[in-house]
């Protein structure tokens, strides 16, 4: 972050003072910036959690101004999303075909759940 920015510099000064004043409180952060194609997510019999519990403001096509919130959850019982390598574009997701997968696609969408 740019520490030449006076407002931000002031913020840092306050921060340093506060940390000294409350030495019994630990605080930390970690940031992971993950490029496209370098992450994958899978959930089985789960509620929306983690990245799956996020939401994205989207616009319905042809309906300008009508905002909708889209959940990122998609069916992973078929196609590329079945396997970890498939979800990272490193295979065509057939490596587990020898084993049976008992999950059934469930069209939650059609039931109007949200």
């Amino acid at each position: 972050m740019n520490t030449d920015d006076p407002i931000h510099r002031e913020g840092w000064n306050w921060w340093n003072k506060t940390v000294t004043k409350h030495p019994h409180i630990s605080i930390w952060h970690e940031v992971y910036s993950v490029p496209k194609g370098r992450w994958e997510t899978i959930y089985a019999n789960s509620h929306p959690t983690g990245l799956g519990a996020t939401s994205f403001k989207t616009m319905a096509k042809g309906e300008e101004g009508k905002e909708l919130w889209t959940r990122p959850l998609v069916d992973a019982t078929r196609g590329l999303l079945r396997t970890s390598k498939g979800r990272m574009s490193q295979s065509n997701a057939t490596e587990h075909d020898a084993y049976s997968d008992s999950y059934e696609a469930m069209d939650v969408y059609d039931q109007g759940a949200s």
């Binding site: 899978i42 959930y43 959690t49 998609v74 590329l80 949200s114």
Partner: protein, 238 residues
């Protein structure tokens, strides 16, 4: 073939996992569920039981054998409720929002389409943790800070005290919600470490951002908010 969404888009923004913790859940609950989790972790199980025993003894000394009733009623209610849910006679609260299938999270485009290429956007994961380490300064005020951090705000354990605290955290939280798109904040959840030590465990906020630029913008604004403490300065900045 494009990936198939399993949830219909919603006209209103769904609550984040962090926001769910701001709700009281269930009969006889005294605190919102997020605050309750942190509060419960401030004392050990034996301390809570001993405190209950002391209260029960005082009640018994005051009103005699009727002192048995409140605790008995609560346990009977909870037992019956669990039994009805386990036996299928009542809707199982623990299954709420569970989808019994296998699914993945993929990032939609601006029109809500998923395309057919997995993981086709960058994603930024931000973990923010805090822990209180000392007994003799752990007054109610510090506990309150921690509760506020846990339930309302991803930042702020170190905020200076004072009456502006509530206003500040409310401002902070509404800023986060109002400007989530500006920051590219996609969602957040609150976590309590599972027993690294017996009490006063670490708390953590897990957040997802679209880009590091958005995260830095949020961090910068949070600094300003914390530094200024009051809403007036925030308005000047805006």
């Amino acid at each position: 073939m494009d990936f198939t969404p399993i949830l219909a888009p919603s006209p209103t923004k769904p609550l984040s996992q962090s926001q769910m913790g701001n709700r009281k859940q269930g009969l006889f609950e005294l605190l919102p569920s997020g605050a309750a989790a942190v509060f419960r972790d401030q004392l050990s199980l034996t301390t809570w039981l001993a405190l209950g025993a002391i209260i029960q003894s005082i009640l018994f000394a005051a009103i005699g054998r009727w002192a048995f009733l409140p605790a008995l009623t609560l346990v009977a209610y909870r037992f019956l409720d669990s039994y009805l849910q386990a036996s299928g006679l009542k809707r199982n609260d623990y299954m709420e929002a569970v989808m019994q299938t296998k699914f993945s999270a993929q990032i939609p485009d601006s029109e809500g389409r998923f395309g057919s290429k997995p993981a086709d956007s960058e994603v930024v994961v931000f973990l923010l943790g805090a822990r209180i380490n000392q007994y003799n300064v752990l007054g109610p005020r510090h506990t309150r800070h921690l509760l506020i951090v846990e339930t309302n705000s991803p930042f702020g354990a170190l905020a200076p005290g004072g009456s502006e605290l509530d206003g500040y955290f409310t401002k902070m939280m509404s800023d986060l919600q109002d400007r989530s798109e500006e920051y590219g904040l996609l969602g957040s959840s609150s976590w309590l470490s599972a027993g690294e030590r017996s009490t006063k465990n670490e708390i953590m906020q897990l957040m997802y951002f679209r880009t590091t630029e958005g995260l830095h913008q949020f961090a910068r604004k949070s600094f300003l908010l914390e530094y200024n403490g009051a809403a007036t300065k925030l308005n000047e900045y805006r």
